[in-house]
Symmetry: C5
Subunit: 350 residues, 5 copies
């Protein structure tokens, strides 16, 4: 569990830049600078080379991946006038999604989710977005993200992203992050479908854990979406008047988060039902087993008793001397047996 790493920070003064994730990966800065007519895309080699975009009249999107490089983050933060606590929050990847307004920028934390097929686990990566005057900074834990559709739309001038300002870019980035949650939901939905079939056909003890894994994944998803809903509702209510044109779009993303929450709740209900069905299946099997035992015992105990009686060694047992004693007793036993079978059939035990 990731939360343990938080203890790294215990007792340090606020503003101390400690990255609470795993220290590995590549550091990379990628810049888009565009207006309606043209765009530049550049992979930066040094931190300094991205400073020039701060005062560009065009919209700039500076995408920084690789939080392990705390010195670089610190440098960028200082140049762009970010508050020390903002920088600390960017590096502390245990944040909940949140929105904070500062004097000359807005700070948004989002969770980018991916589904790890092998571990059957929803994994989350923190993305911090800074919306300044005419730029957006994005900080990712590592390279690899869900932003490619936005990049393509900038490159190919599809949609209206090039025609709008930095607030619209912020919207577009938030939108793909949220859209991506639907893909996670789809995966989890498929797993639930699979389990649902298996639990009826062949219930096994391991399913309990599969069901709980699913449940935990849904909880993970919900934890990313719940606070996001509040973030988005304050974005579209937009009291700070930062997002003139994009406000109506944020309402749209907000609607999506509510849809996601609804779906998560539905899937959670289904997993609860799965548990019920599983337990009922197990119970049913137990009943089956008990029935077999009872039928066998009820048929053979009386029969064995009869055989036992004629196995007694009393001198004077007239039946033993009868010529048709043995076949008679066999017929009697058969009748008892058949009688009991009929009785069980009637009670629907067989």
């Amino acid at each position: 569990m990731k939360e343990r790493k938080l203890t790294k920070k215990v007792g340090t003064p606020p503003g101390t830049l400690i990255y609470t994730g795993e220290k590995m990966g590549t550091f990379q800065i990628n810049v888009f600078n565009y207006n309606a007519d043209s765009y530049i895309e550049q992979k930066m080699e040094s931190v300094e080379s991205c400073f020039k975009f701060k005062n560009s009249p065009n919209v700039s999107w500076i995408d920084i991946a690789g939080l392990y490089n705390t010195e670089a983050i610190d440098e960028i933060g200082k140049y762009y006038n970010l508050h020390p606590l903002t920088l600390e929050d960017i590096l502390n990847i245990n944040q909940r999604p949140k929105l904070e307004y500062f004097d000359d920028y807005a700070f948004i934390v989002l969770k980018m989710l991916t589904y790890n097929n092998e571990m059957r686990e929803v994994q989350s990566e923190q993305v911090s977005l800074i919306l300044g005057n005419n730029f957006v900074l994005t900080f990712q834990e590592d390279i690899g993200d869900v932003f490619d559709p936005v990049r393509d739309r900038i490159r190919n001038n599809r949609g209206s992203v090039r025609k709008n300002g930095a607030d619209y870019l912020l919207y577009a980035l938030t939108d793909v992050v949220v859209d991506n949650y639907f893909i996670i939901l789809e995966k989890l939905g498929e797993e639930i479908d699979e389990l649902q079939e298996m639990v009826v056909v062949n219930p096994s003890h391991e399913m309990i854990q599969d069901i709980h894994t699913l449940r935990r994944n849904l909880t993970e998803l919900r934890k990313s979406v719940w606070p996001l809903r509040d973030v988005l509702s304050s974005l579209y209510e937009d009291e700070m008047q930062l997002f003139k044109s994009a406000s109506v779009y944020f309402r749209d993303v907000h609607d999506h988060t509510i849809q996601i929450i609804d779906m998560v709740e539905t899937l959670r209900d289904i997993t609860s039902e799965l548990l019920d069905v599983y337990l009922s299946s197990v119970n049913n099997r137990m009943n089956e087993i008990m029935k077999v035992l009872t039928i066998i015992a009820t048929i053979f105990m009386p029969l064995s008793f009869v055989a036992g009686v004629y196995g007694m060694n009393f001198k004077y047992m007239p039946e033993l001397g009868w010529k048709y004693g043995y076949p008679t007793i066999l017929v009697v036993m058969l009748s008892i047996g058949i009688g009991l079978v009929i009785y069980f059939k009637r009670r629907k035990w067989m």
Copy 2:
């Protein structure tokens, strides 16, 4: 599950018109244009032919069925000045019921429910309503709806729909959608009654799934009604002063949604009880089985033991030589058997 289709849209720019339902069915435009004295009803062949009603002094109801035809929707949207996001929402059939005010129209999303008897499933179809100055646009996924009572009232001038404006028409349409929920509730209520009898008479493992199907249908219904309640309460509070005369009627529909929510909760409680009763029935059966086993074993084990004793081959076993040894032991066995039966009767096991 429908929600998966949402992934079609991941990463597309906002306002991209993608229909998230199944692409099939017929496209059809049906127009009513009426005032207190007369009415026209027309099936339109082309999209353009319904444009002329925009500035008609009478009230117009333009009913568009067949969302798969995205080009037609787009054309209508543009002519009636609908916001791109509104058009996108009309085509994305995974919306929750909602109400959005735009500059010159109000946009309402409703869910029309039908009960599929074969699949025992509540199915929902999205209806989007646009209330403009003196027209109502309705967008349905496919042809076939619950609006016939309203059409009849317009044709026959029954009720006051012809005497009122577009806001009253909007109310009338909303009202039949909500009234239809009562029919669904009735169906589900009947199914619950059936199950309730069966669960006592003859509980079987499949009932667990029937109970869960019922529960999911109730959840589906609730998901359509809950947000609708909020929509209607803001319609009757009517801060935008769009609905002068109809406001008191919307309060009435609002009351209906609260009634529906109440009933859904009651039915959900009953399904929970069904589960309890089922589990208790199963438990009871298990007890019955165990009792039979115990009674049989308790009666025949001692008897078999006695028979076993007199089946031993010791040379000196005086009882074996007694003349009345055999009948005596039979009487003893009978007494043991009867004694145990009496004991079980006393403990109410038989």
Copy 3:
């Protein structure tokens, strides 16, 4: 379940007067007209004859029973200027308790509860109250109600009902309806007491359903009281200044509804406990049965084995020839039996 009848109304225009209850019973109008000094009580023959009380300087209470007579209701409604939706609500007996203010009257819906001893069911009858300038109209589904104490107080000039206006009469009527809930609670409390004893002494499968019937009755009661609480709190806050003198009394009734809600919750908790106790009793019985089986099997299986050994037909089995072989083996068997009994006593299984 009553709610099904709602489907009668699907698709009808608002204001259509359809009675959703069972069409039977007697129609009857009963009028009280009183002031501090005198009173008139009249059973009306025709609807029209009660119109004259509208402008009487005294307080009038016009009590109409028999909603099946929709024409009469319509006529009265028109004379007293009731809104069509009010009339519709009066006839639709599936309303929740509610309070609605209209221009010149207040409209209150209450539920009058009775306990049907045979069906062990709480049954509800809807009462609609209209408070006008100096009159109160009450509409009941059928004749037979809980208002007799109020009638007596008017006739005998007991309490202050004759000295006060129509608002006080409204209070007095509401008060007896709510007081009557305490009687229902008492009945349900007695049933719970009975069940509580039986569930310990002699738990049977039918109790599950008794418990659920109780629970449903409590839910029915709660559904009548919950919304009533809000009705009463807005009556005593009285923003409309309709109830000058009676406001403090409505606070009193409001307190009663809160007491009732508290008691209902307590009784619901007790029924949950009953279920637990029942299940534990059943479980306990199962354990008892299993113990008997195990004790019997554990004692007689080894003994039968020993008998079986000496029932073998080997030629050379020295014990069989011993003079005291048989009594010795009997003593051995007895020792095994007693030993096991002691063992079971120690483990507290016997």
Copy 4:
């Protein structure tokens, strides 16, 4: 259950003074009249003799015990100008804790709790407090209360009660009532500790009811404290400016009620856990029993079969004639037995 007695009042006009408790006990009026320098303590013989304190410049505390004497209560109420509904509430001992402001007094209802050791039941007595200009009236169901510490503080001039006004006296009385809840909590906590030990050592069927009794007692306590919290928070917010100096003290009592609610919740959680532990213990015992049965059956069934085989009477069974047949077969049986025991030990069943 006390609530039944409420039905005594059904249908009576408001303000009818009916005592809903048990009619017995002693009637007694006890008066304190004090200022910082001196105090008078008097047991009153007649109701009238306590009237003189109404206009005393000192603070008076008139403590009336014995609500069965409704005439006396009525007389006092009239002299002190209490509203008829206040008097009714004083006599109706089924009130929830509440605070009501009247023109010249505040009316507070509290619950005084005692723990009945024999019945293991939390019993509550209603105390009504009237705070007037410079007097406090307290009405108790019967003599015997928790106010002795306050009496001692007045007598011995300890603390600041003598130096302050009637509002401080009200605070002091409320404070001891609430402090007394901690004693109840302690008792219940001790009972829970006892049960917690027993449930592990020797779980028995009766514990379920002990656990439920505990739970109901906690619920009783909670029902007294929850509404009290609201009473106290409006006392310390003190919008009516009645409690100038005592406001900060009421905040303190308010904090205590929150502590009590917290503790009650904790104890409720523990009782839930007790139930889980009990059920798991019972389950565990069942498993133990089943294991014993299975072990015995698994060992002796095969052995008995072997013995049965050599008990068959076939003429040609070579083993029977072998010299060492019998000891060989005994060794075989012993090996089977030992083998099965080892198997069970390995599976940890023994």
Copy 5:
């Protein structure tokens, strides 16, 4: 349970200084007095010697440990003008975290948590903080705390604590208390991980109690953090304008408490799942046992019956005389046995 000690205080006048914890430990006063340039650290011998810091122009942190010394606390309280109720709250260690504003100071109660490895219990110590003009008083139950990181930062002038005022010091102290909760969470997380493995590998009855201990520890933690969240949110909203510069930092700690609450909820969910898994494991074992019993009984009961039949002593049993009767019957028995084993394998019981 600590709460019992509260009964010590029942009935005492408010402001009576009674320490509700255990009376032992050392009394110690430790003072820091610092500005940006220099600092003094002193262990005080007498209470009076810390009075001089009250009017120092530098920031003072006076840390008092050892609440058992009520006289010393009283003296300090009087000198620093603390309200009697504040002093009482400091000594009553059963407070919930809270914030109270007084005329010239703010009073904050926090809970410092430690994890006792032996008793596997989260233990809490109450810390009361007084924020005055330019000083902070901290009162601890006993020596030993989590403040060392702050002390080091003051001594070494790390971070900005020396450069800021008393409000920042208050923040720094609150921050380490909250950071410490992450360590507790980590411990509990580790315990849950351990249990999670054990519950699958080797479920035992004791685990139920381990799970409940964990749950209670999480509840303890939650009880410390929930009210703290409100404290912190009012600190960062800071209506009193006491915390000019530190407000943004308190928002940061507030975010941490929300993270902690989230994690606690997650861990609570996992413990619930543990219980499910445990119960399912136990159930599974029961099923295994029953299967073994049933298989054994089903195989050997018919076989024993066959042997019993040929053990009967009828004179005319032709099979007994057959030469190959014995081997034939052995083959028949073997076939029955093998047939049943195959049957069980097919039903997946073996």
